[in-house]
């Protein structure tokens, strides 16, 4: 049923997302796209050198998250063909666009922000749900969003 999966995380809920993805794959051969979207937008009046630093930091963080994802998938399932993807832009918009472009069968991502966090920070998963071109599996985390960033 599923042949191509898009797994996305910024480090939040990563362990649970991978755990559920592996359970869904269930040992079958699968193409997994690991996506990290670096939100490089910065408010007006952000000094440009500091913005460059932010982009660099996000890029490094993204590489770490994708490396971590790849190691976990390959360790647990040799049939997974993992493709890391690091892009810059609005997270929800990019996730939907890449799912469309890559023709993925399912998007897997975490969710679990409190009501206060949703109001203050917004929710990427809620935005993706409204415009995703395929099935979505939202992993409800028991942890707070920032607890799992490694």
């Amino acid at each position: 049923m599923y042949e191509k999966i898009l797994v996305t995380s910024t480090g939040e809920y990563l362990n649970e997302v991978i755990e559920h993805t592996l359970d869904l794959i269930h040992g079958r051969p699968m193409e997994v796209i690991g996506l990290y979207v670096a939100d490089t937008s910065a408010p007006f009046l952000t000094p440009s050198k500091v913005k460059q630093m932010m982009v660099k930091e996000l890029d490094e963080k993204g590489r770490e998250v994708l490396k971590n994802m790849e190691q976990k998938f390959q360790k647990s399932n040799a049939n997974v063909k993992f493709m890391p993807m690091l892009v810059e832009g609005d997270p929800a918009e990019k996730i939907v666009k890449i799912a469309e472009k890559e023709n993925t069968d399912v998007i897997i991502m975490g969710t679990g922000k409190s009501k206060i966090d949703k109001h203050l920070l917004g929710s990427v998963s809620e935005k993706v749900v409204h415009s995703a071109p395929c099935t979505i599996l939202l992993i409800r985390s028991k942890h707070k969003p920032l607890e799992q960033i490694e």
Binding site: T10, G11, D39, A42, P43, F44, L45, T46, P47, S48, K49, V50, M53, M54, E57, L58, K61, I116, D117, L120, L121, K144, P145, L146, I149
Partner: protein, 331 residues
């Protein structure tokens, strides 16, 4: 002049100052790179002064134009606002801002030491040339420590890449061995940035003093609150957006780095040019509050190496209490 025109000048001059500082630093870094200065030195320096030039410019211009109180007020007010206001708001919005032991020990210690150095010299009377030299020297030592730490980090990154991929990559220490000629574009950029800073800061101080005169508000109060909060807009946007993106080191580092720069350079350089008088209320209230909020934030972070939303509320409540006492009780 009408109050509306003065408020308009204040807002426009703030935008000019912040944008001019950005253009100035950008072009200065490019010229530095073309002259062969290491990327690490340029990066650390640009990050340190990038967000603090507006406070520095205002303090210098205010002192030179005879409004010394507004200059000192801007620096001390910015430091209290940076910690209690900006970190408070950022922790409330982001939910949590994490920190690491190494960073907090180094940057936290220097921020606290800087505040103590300032209050020490304030106790001795006006801040003069000796104090200025000590402050600038401490900043140079701190900058060297930062550069050394950055070099070590770059070295370990390089080693990691070499071990993993067998690549010989020159990370971070690109010193531009091939010297290129400086582009006129950069020189024009530096001049425009500098001119923008001078004109913008002059207008900022002028409008601040003007608004104060209309409402009978002392210059130090205008500096402590209006100019301090206004010139800290770059710190606010950087700290808040990096906290929301999970870039915790950048978030806390911006505030602590800015506070160190504000005192050591923001007061050190004007004191080199002229004696900076000490206002008694600043000595017995504002400066101790600055030390108090610095200790408070370090204690809150040290507990679990992070600032939580509750910690943010404590910090913001502290700022509101300080502002209320300073404005309505002490005047």
């Amino acid at each position: 002049m009408s109050i509306f025109i003065l408020i308009g000048i204040l807002i426009v001059s703030l935008i000019i100052v912040i944008k001019a500082a950005d253009i100035f630093v950008d072009n200065l870094v490019e010229v530095g790179a073309l002259l062969g200065i290491s990327q690490i030195i340029l990066g650390v320096t640009a990050a340190a002064i990038g967000t603090s030039l507006p406070e520095f410019g205002s303090a210098v211009i205010a002192s030179l134009s005879g409004s010394v109180d507004i200059g000192v007020g801007t620096v001390i007010g910015s430091n209290i606002w940076n910690i209690a206001g900006i970190l408070g708001i950022s922790a409330i919005v982001a939910g949590v801002i994490k920190s690491d032991v190494k960073g907090i020990n180094r940057d936290g210690a220097i921020t606290l030491a800087t505040a103590v150095i300032l209050i020490f010299f304030m106790f001795l009377g006006d801040i003069g040339k000796i104090a200025a030299i000590v402050m600038i020297a401490v900043y140079v030592i701190y900058l060297r420590t930062l550069i050394k730490a950055q070099k070590e980090e770059a070295k370990s990154d390089k080693k990691e890449v070499e071990e993993k991929f067998g690549l010989k990559e020159d990370i971070g220490e690109k010193s531009g061995s091939k010297l290129k000629s400086i582009r006129p574009k950069n020189i024009i950029g530096i001049l425009i940035g500098f001119a923008g800073l001078v004109v913008g800061c002059r207008l900022l101080v002028y409008s601040g003093v003007g608004i104060g005169e209309i409402y009978n508000i002392p210059e130090i109060i205008m500096g402590l609150f209006v100019l301090a909060i206004g010139t800290s807009i770059p710190e606010l946007v950087v700290t808040l957006s990096s906290a929301m993106k999970g870039l915790h080191d950048l978030s806390i580092g911006t505030v602590l780095g800015s506070n160190t720069f504000n005192i050591l350079i923001g007061i050190g350089v004007p004191a080199l040019i002229l004696n900076v008088p000490v206002d008694p209320i600043s000595l017995y209230f504002d400066a101790p509050v600055m030390i108090f909020v610095t200790v408070l934030v370090l204690l809150l972070i040290k507990k679990d190496m992070k600032l939580t939303r509750l910690n943010g509320l404590i910090l913001l409540a502290t700022y509101i209490a300080y502002a209320a006492i300073r404005l309505f009780v002490l005047g």
